[in-house]
Symmetry: C2
Subunit: 433 residues, 2 copies
Amino acid sequence: MSRKALDYDQINENVKKAQYAVRGELYLRASELQKEGKKIIFTNVGNPHALGQKPLTFPRQAPFLLDDPNVGLVFPADAIAKAKMYLSYTAGGLGAYSDSRGLPGIRKENAIIIGDSDPELIYLTDGASKGVMQMLQTIIRGNGDGILVPVPQYPLYSAAISLFGGALVPYYLEETANWGLDINNLRQSVRAMVIINPGNPTGQCLSVDNLQQILRFCHQENLVLLGDEVYQQNVYQDERPFISSRKVLLDMGPPISKEVQLISFHTVSKGFLGECGQRGGYFEMTNIPPQTVDEIYKVASISLSPNVPGQIFMGVMVSPPKPGDISYDRFLRESKGILESLRKRAHMMTDGFNSCKNVVCNFTEGAMYSFPQIKLPPKAIAAAKSAGKVPDVFYCLKLLEATGISTGFPPEDDHFAGRGGHACNHGEFQEVQ
Amino acid sequence: MSRKALDYDQINENVKKAQYAVRGELYLRASELQKEGKKIIFTNVGNPHALGQKPLTFPRQAPFLLDDPNVGLVFPADAIAKAKMYLSYTAGGLGAYSDSRGLPGIRKENAIIIGDSDPELIYLTDGASKGVMQMLQTIIRGNGDGILVPVPQYPLYSAAISLFGGALVPYYLEETANWGLDINNLRQSVRAMVIINPGNPTGQCLSVDNLQQILRFCHQENLVLLGDEVYQQNVYQDERPFISSRKVLLDMGPPISKEVQLISFHTVSKGFLGECGQRGGYFEMTNIPPQTVDEIYKVASISLSPNVPGQIFMGVMVSPPKPGDISYDRFLRESKGILESLRKRAHMMTDGFNSCKNVVCNFTEGAMYSFPQIKLPPKAIAAAKSAGKVPDVFYCLKLLEATGISTGFPPEDDHFAGRGGHACNHGEFQEVQ
């Protein structure tokens, strides 16, 4: 049977070689005994709050709030209850390292919301980027290991792939046939395929058909599918709602549903939360061998734990207030308001672009970017050449000087440079609202 | 002139190869224009709060607090003032990505406290471990690149070094002469030296003399010095207070003070804060070429920014309440109380160990661990052998089964196995206090 990139014998040897005694035989045995109900005193890592050290009052201020008889006057009862629930998940509160995979209670919440998921296969991370980087590092063994990445892409992928010594193999969503072509050139070394759905920066939402094609393709080519789904709440049309790769995969049934290795990524930084600064995210592993999961756990534990406040934001994201809760109406009003404003701006952006001469822009179906195609006149292209710049960079620099608008990443792939594509964040319209 | 590991032409080629368009020519030009006072609208990354999106009320609750006329009844005035100051450092509040190097305002605070420092050379990180890993990845180009690490060590170093494909070269602080020996074996490939001061797990505090020897050694051997100083507040004797490698380096004067490349690491997870779960830390770069700093900035920016609450904890750590502030007395009482309790427990631990038969333990001068030497009787060693385990692991497993105490990492280095050394966190005594 052919090997997949995340089969144990296929992953980066450096990942296996990495020893981490803090999670060695002793720690694992201690965890077993604890599961069996024995009281274990962990002394293997300095984690003062977990061992009862009281946090200083000054930087926190808040600790006393929940015990304050007047807390009910300041915060709604359901928020207080939720805060107490999350604190009950962590022995040492927000100031203690959690499990390197994140707090079990919150991983359980995620599993319940996703449905049909195993909390042991959901790892919380400091934002989705950190999870993407860990998985790419696990997959890429060295030079020549190729990763299929959509063009245009979110630069995290090109940057992380070269950081880990891999090779980026571009593909075009709208030119499905090309995949085979790209693959034929490098079949031996291509190990994984990245999809960004909804697309960043293109904003497209993939249809079930398209996702099935992609999954069949990954199955046939033995590729791990890395599903970047961080914009899943940012959808601005109703014809093609967001559907997760995981749901489509499981609905396809065996052998594909049991064989395609899938990693799904999510974050608290987008959607209606937009809590970028909290750095909260997770990835879920589907059809990944347990030995490989152990290695991923080991490597995650080298940096001890994701930040705990970010984990709790993830918890609140996946289990928001329910109908009947005191905070429900306000939560609904605020979250709807944000999504409706984004949807409105998606239309403003694309209509605005399409009203310009020599500019064509597909409707921004999702994510946070519009991606216009700008036909540059020969003179502009000539001017760019004489300035020693590719036309789109030249255009974007002129736009910056003239308007102060700093556009998104001009695609660096040759196939694209001529199109002068660049991303514009809807956010810029916040200013004029 | 001989090359140093962090000279631009000496670092990991994969670090240079990594392109990150979000910080490409456009972004850099936009930042220039912004410095020149031009109003720039950044649309290159989705950062909603930075563009004015209001955070949801439910997960935060707090946003309104600072505007509440009664906030003064709930929080002391100096805490309110400090909170407002930190919020003024970040356009989008705690929910917006910061600069990839951390909030400039907090990096300035750090620079002022450290003294004689440049905020541009201080990067905030998600805990110290993330910074250590980034620097090791930058230094290690591939197999054979050696890093000198003290034995016994904190397992972060062995784990990260093999993750990045390097080679750990052990050295013994108490056997200074050995360094040269180790080096002579691998002079070509040894690139950096790690010191952990105060020691983890040994607890020793390095003297100025010893630090000068180490710095001279690094100068002569062209080694980058990685100074892990996360336990600098955890010192339990007064004869040898903590002194930073950076201070000793600068006091040594040229050429050494201008030539030795030094990275210093610190965290909010230890000391009297112990805010492990917040994941806040920083590293400072001394004598690192600007081109290399640019590469380190680029790689830091791939994961966007460290978590902002952790950055603010770092700010509060380096600039706590001052005498005369409303919160000063309480802050002093609490922080002193924690350090005195740790000091008391350091004595309890080492006295306790030394009162045991066949156990010798140096006084724990600092950090959070006692590191006893346990002389195992021949029968125990025989029992371990017949169980197919090294004696110290065997001992620690028996201790675990009998008492539920999960000790720290038994050193895996052969030189040490015979000594049966293992770490015990003072924290375990929290239980009986």
